[in-house]
Symmetry: C2
Subunit: 213 residues, 2 copies
């Protein structure tokens, strides 16, 4: 399926965007779409879309465009999100609880099957039918549960410890929501979600815009 060795990181990011926009278009009844129209909806250059899609194969039909449903399926397949991923969440704070209640995870195929925290007052509590387990037991439990992805929602000072447990558990990927860098071996993929970066960016742009007039 993969045509080329290296795929730009930016392409992967856009593919997630394309799926989002395509699913909206599908809901609105679109069956076929050209790269030009999809580009407009995504605020991207049409060539960019064609090139991004071509990395994974010729999904389009010349003279016609792309079949919406088929394209959604193909992109999801290419990204590896055409299946269920089992995840563990570490850190039952405000953010952790919100993510656990967030229906979108399940809808998109990410099932949170294990919940961990080091606070004795939280251990044993049930959230959405799942018991909160002591973080120390993560390595033994993760295997049992078949977890492949870890979500860190601890305070920053405990993020590295959470990561260590996850790594010890043999997890292959981590999404870190805590505002702290974490160290991990080469083979573990780490992604950082930091909404303050986005807030800072907005603040900077507003400040810049004002200083210019």
């Amino acid at each position: 399926m993969l045509r080329s060795e290296h795929i730009p990181r930016a392409t992967i990011k856009r593919l997630a965007l394309y799926v989002q926009v395509l699913e909206t278009l599908k809901r609105e009844g679109a069956e076929v779409i050209s790269s030009e129209l999809l580009a407009k909806a995504c605020d991207v250059n049409p060539s960019q879309i064609r090139k991004d899609l071509a990395y994974f194969g010729g999904f389009g039909v010349r003279g016609v465009g792309y079949y919406v449903q088929e394209l959604i399926t193909s992109i999801k397949q290419s990204l590896g999100v055409d299946r269920i991923w089992r995840a563990a969440l570490v850190g039952v704070g405000n953010l952790g609880k919100a993510l656990l209640r967030h229906q979108e995870f399940r809808r998109r195929g990410f099932h949170i099957v294990g919940i961990f925290d080091c606070d004795p007052f939280k251990i044993g509590e049930e959230i959405g039918g799942i018991e909160v387990i002591c973080s120390k037991r993560l390595p033994e439990k993760a295997g049992e549960l078949g977890v492949e992805i870890g979500l860190i929602t601890t305070p920053p000072e405990r993020a590295q410890r959470a990561a260590n447990y996850l790594i010890e558990a043999g997890i292959k990927g981590i999404v870190n929501f805590a505002p702290a860098r974490i160290a991990a071996p080469e083979h573990v993929c780490v992604e950082y979600v930091d909404f303050f970066h986005h807030l800072y960016n907005v603040a900077f742009n507003i400040t810049l815009g004002q200083s210019q007039r």
Copy 2:
């Protein structure tokens, strides 16, 4: 203060990261740091750091490095986050509530002073001492409250409507947590927070890693 016309978007992103790491280093007692050490902590090239910082001014001392506290202050000033920003949140679902409870916003100078929703059952409810107001009244209320930034945490199908109210209210920047693109005039800065992009990226990397061996 600004030395150059155009500053790469990526630089702004990294500056937010530098602040995060520098604050950790400061807590650990560091007073001076070289670009080489900071680079290691941020997982970035040392030249990159020097170049990023040089866009805003010569913050360093040759032969010595950067004074940690001074650098934090300078970066924050450059980004425009050395002051209080007043924000409004639209959409009191799970995610919205979690963000409202998240102490980090206030700690970083982003004060959520208005909460809006279109659900009659939620209007009038109090969250953290702030009353939930009908979204329709956003344009009138935002001015009163001195709001400059809007946070959208509605379901995707209501994101554009929320954005319209915010734009009508004269807001200058929007951080959209809903999984939907929104249209906005040129002068309004829009940022998207989408953790599924990060999850997709992790899923892709795991899939890729496995198919390679």
